[in-house]
């Protein structure tokens, strides 16, 4: 009889834990809709693997919101040729193995026609072999060019780090800087960045003289910033995503480093402005046009697409979309466009995506080719600064744009 008490407590606890876990699961997978048995004329299924919890949450959450919004819009329009489009969202918890598991489930159990995601580079790289071996079109929303280098079935919508770095080097050359101090994300997003700065900067005589790393969930940046301060480069680059990028920015200003600072395109959301606070004032970053939608010239080719999305998103969620929501929008539109044009034949969808030309999206204007599954050039980016806690289009866009 002695056993009853602990057994009851343990059972209660187990039930509580499992119950909560189940709640969390249904919450994050909530965009799925009905999910009835799929038959030949059944719904078209699009799977999405996003970093909804964990270090990439500030990317994955707005992406989920954007996808859910677009899916419900499409639903109201009556789907594609009368076929319903079902969106199944999986949370990879910002981990590589979570992403691999999620895409396996989507491909094998849900039998989706196309996969979107992941939000960040590491998880996207983990999904790539699954997409390639199952021959299923995949559109990543992440940045690192390695995701699509030499890929057959994988595409991506976020601006390549290569074009971002080209844009940054252009700016540095304009400003007369020749040495860079780099503090980069130690995960996939920051992988190879230093080498790329050196490679692209070589033509302008610009090189990285100090490189520091930080974990994506790091909280203290004193050590990295002290080392950057000692390196005394002409300009420093923080390459990460919030909240880490925001905390790094705070430490940069707190330690009184005098050199100007640039951030990457990983910071295009309100979370960054909130975490960095006053310390963000005056930094320069190459970002998609979305964050400065209200400041774009009227003749900007992307203005209409961006403004329409901003309006719909803001009406639904009471806050403006981040650039990451924009990456998700582009991924969704490219997918829907392909499915509308050629149906659900996977090979045809892939070929259609590869042949896209001058498709105007949120992150830029896409032109894919067999060699380039990213489709954006440095013109997709504008230089943005922070003024009074808000994004501001830099008046002098330099020679790059």
């Amino acid at each position: 009889m002695r056993r009853t008490a602990p057994a009851r407590a343990a059972a209660l606890l187990a039930a509580l834990t499992l119950g909560l876990a189940a709640c969390a699961e249904s919450e994050s997978g909530g965009g799925g809709g009905g999910g009835g048995a799929a038959d030949e004329s059944g719904p078209i299924k699009i799977g999405a693997v996003l970093d909804i919890t964990g270090a990439g949450a500030s990317l994955g959450v707005p992406e989920r919101q954007a996808l859910e919004l677009l899916a419900s819009q499409l639903q109201e329009e009556g789907g594609i040729d009368g076929r319903e489009v079902e969106l199944i969202i999986e949370d990879n918890q910002s981990t590589e193995d979570g992403a691999a598991k999620a895409i396996n489930k989507l491909v094998n159990e849900d039998e989706v026609d196309l996969v979107l995601g992941a939000s960040r580079t590491g998880p996207s790289l983990a999904m790539r072999p699954v997409a390639e071996s199952n021959q299923i079109p995949m559109i990543s929303l992440a940045a690192n060019q390695a995701i699509v280098d030499g890929s057959e079935w994988v595409f991506k919508t976020a601006q390549n780090d290569r074009v971002v770095i080209e844009r940054m080097i252009d700016y540095m050359a304009d400003q007369g800087h020749t040495t860079i101090g780099l503090a980069r994300d130690a995960s996939g997003f920051g992988e190879g960045v230093q080498e790329m700065f050196d490679e692209i900067g070589a033509a302008e005589g610009i090189s990285v003289v100090a490189a520091e790393k930080f974990a994506p969930d790091a909280t203290d940046f004193t050590a990295q910033m002290v080392n950057l301060r000692n390196a005394a480069a002409d300009i420093n680059v923080i390459w990460g995503i919030p909240p880490a990028a925001g905390l790094a920015q705070q430490a940069y200003v707190q330690l009184g480093i005098a050199a100007p600072v640039m951030q990457s395109h990983g910071i295009g959301n309100q979370v960054f402005l909130d975490t960095a606070g006053d310390s963000a004032e005056g930094l320069v970053a190459p970002l998609g046009r979305l964050v400065v939608a209200d400041q774009l010239p009227e003749d900007d080719p992307q203005a209409d697409v961006i403004n329409e999305f901003v309006e719909a998103y803001t009406a639904e969620y009471d806050q403006g979309p981040s650039t990451f929501a924009g990456h998700a929008y582009d991924g969704w539109q490219l997918a829907i466009d392909a499915l509308r044009e050629v149906g659900t034949d996977k090979q045809a969808v892939r070929d259609h995506l590869e042949g896209l030309e001058d498709v105007v999206g949120i992150s830029g204007t896409f032109t894919m080719s067999p060699d380039d599954h990213s489709g954006l050039t440095k013109e997709a980016l504008v230089l943005v600064t922070v003024e009074n806690g808000a994004w501001k289009l830099l008046p002098d866009q330099g020679t790059g744009g």
Partner: protein, 289 residues
């Protein structure tokens, strides 16, 4: 030199947070042999409660008090529901039970507060320069409050009757019972203390290090390592262990490689467990608590 001081100072304030978490581990372990893996979640929950209360317009000190009392209640409820009913508690059983609580609390925090990590508004924002070392006011606050709390806990165990009865439970459970000390009440009290110090640590840390639903994992691990450095049974050892860990982490990140920062704790843990299981400051089983 300036760099060394800068790294030392950043390490001390980070270490003070570890120290507070470590005190919580020690408070509970000495009384009942329970290793409370939800200790880090106490800190994370406190940070999140404070952030949402302050976001709702509450004054910062009031939000901090609310956060600490909420977590104190959670800790006490946890003790009554999960620890108290178990007869013949062993450290292994306690690990499994508290791991369950930790997972449950994390899921709850994710549901209530969402996935984003946020920072509490600092009570005194800004920083000042002292001999080239930049010091944030919040870091001074962390050190000051952690110092006061550690002294208070120490005083409680050494000078008050309740504290002495807790030490008695730790040293001689049977004898303590014979002289009329309630082990049940002692266990409850130890969870109350652990909840309070963990929560204070969590609220203090939030403005600088940010708090998310997952923050408790790292904080709990580092706090546990700090407590182990002190032999798991000494408040003084836990405080010293926490400070040492914070400083070593920062020096390693600054002078060796930033990638090794989080490895320091586990390296230390292995070395200590192999070479000096009673803690690096310990004098074997004497002077518990």
């Amino acid at each position: 030199m300036t760099d060394l001081l800068q790294l030392l100072f950043a390490g001390l304030s980070q270490g003070a947070v570890y120290a507070l978490i470590a005190i919580g581990f020690v408070a509970i372990f000495t009384v009942s042999g329970v290793i409370n893996l939800a200790q880090g979640e106490f800190a994370a929950l406190a940070g999140l409660v404070a952030i949402s209360a302050a976001g709702g317009g509450m004054l910062l000190p009031a939000a901090a008090v609310l956060a600490v009392s909420t977590v104190a209640i959670v800790a006490v409820v946890m003790e009554r529901l999960v620890i108290f009913p178990v007869r013949g508690m062993t450290t292994l059983v306690s690990l499994i039970l508290t791991l369950g609580v930790s997972t449950g609390l994390k899921a709850l925090m994710l549901l209530i507060y969402g996935p984003d990590a946020k920072g509490l508004e600092p009570l005194f924002p800004g920083a000042f320069d002292l001999a080239g070392v930049s010091i944030r006011y919040q870091e001074l606050l962390i050190l000051a409050v952690a110092g006061v709390v550690a002294l208070a806990v120490y005083w409680f165990y050494e000078k008050t009757l309740a504290g002495k009865s807790l030490r008695a439970c730790a040293e001689q459970p049977v004898a303590a019972r014979l002289v009329g000390i309630s082990l049940s009440r002692a266990s409850l009290l130890s969870f109350l203390i652990a909840g309070c110090v963990g929560a204070i640590g969590g609220v203090l840390a939030s403005p600088i290090y940010f708090t998310g639903w997952e923050s408790g994992l790292t904080l709990g691990l580092k706090g546990f390592v700090a407590a182990t450095l002190g032999g798991l049974v000494s408040v003084r050892g836990a405080v010293l262990g926490g400070l040492l860990l914070g400083v070593l982490e920062n020096l390693t990140a600054g002078y060796i490689s930033t990638g090794l920062r989080d490895a320091v704790a586990f390296f230390l843990l292995i070395v200590v467990l192999v070479a000096r299981p009673s803690g690096i400051f310990g004098r074997h089983a004497e002077a518990r608590v």
